[in-house]
Amino acid sequence: MVVRIEEVTTAMLEATELPDGTARVAPDRPFADVVHEHLDRLYGYCVHLCGDLTDAEDLLQDTLVRAMRSFDGLRDPKAARTWLFTIATNCARDRWRARGRALDTVPLEAADPDDDFSLFTTIAIEDPFPYSDELHLDFLRLFGDEDLHTVFAAMTPVFRAPILLTTIHGFSCKEAAAVLGVPLGTLLSRLHRGRKQLERGLWVYAVRRRLVTVSDET
């Protein structure tokens, strides 16, 4: 059940046990301090993970309410960021499952259709800026933050999340694997496929928006 921020009661805060049945342990830092330190980053993660501002707002609320309930279980203050992002990921997983979608579903294609795609090579072959001395850089200069957000939103969630965690939010691969609850090898594989999907997404976006002129749509 989703509990909205407005519905939080003191009774929720005064429960003597954590959801897993263990007794609460007083943390070293107030909950508010921990949230303030990571709030903007956490909101950004929610937006990129959901690809939709309204969903992101609900996800952030779910995350904070769940974090608040289990905060006393946070024994290592240095782990606060990983802890918050893990809760956000789990909340997203639950929300999507309730809608019949899945964060962790890997497409069943026998071969990865993006594996052989190279944006570097595609730009060189298509040569969308014939008079450019910086062909590849000029291509990347087409993309503002909004464009990039749109490309992210079109990615398969299971491949998007590893990129968000490692490349945007600076988690190590081991930390990102922990946040997503997958083995390191799985994380690395998804990260590679995500990067390939991102590269193809950038190209497709540029072609469809007619930011580049090519002979035939790729």
Binding site: T10, E14, R41, L119, F120, H136
Partner: protein, 81 residues
């Protein structure tokens, strides 16, 4: 020796500094003799840089106010136990 396909597969972990020493050495050896992969690596660095510096959307004021009210609730009701 690794081929170009494997070299490309290792580039982002290499840029993330999450590639193990032996695979890193193999990639560097490949790069010494493959001009195309050197270009691919530089481009990967630029793409990664663009993603790294993307600005996250700013939190709406109304949402921030609601979060602050939640945190005030915690301070008033939950931390004084």
């Amino acid at each position: 020796m690794i081929d170009c396909r494997e070299a490309v597969r290792r580039m982002w972990p290499f840029l993330d500094r999450s590639l193990e020493p032996h695979p890193t050495e193999e990639l560097e050896t490949h790069l010494e003799t493959c001009k195309r992969c050197c270009g691919e690596l530089e481009f990967s660095r630029e793409v990664r840089g663009m993603v790294t510096t993307t600005i996250s959307p700013a939190m709406p004021d109304e949402l921030r106010e609601r979060v602050e009210r939640l945190l005030a609730t915690v301070r008033d009701g939950g931390q004084g136990r």
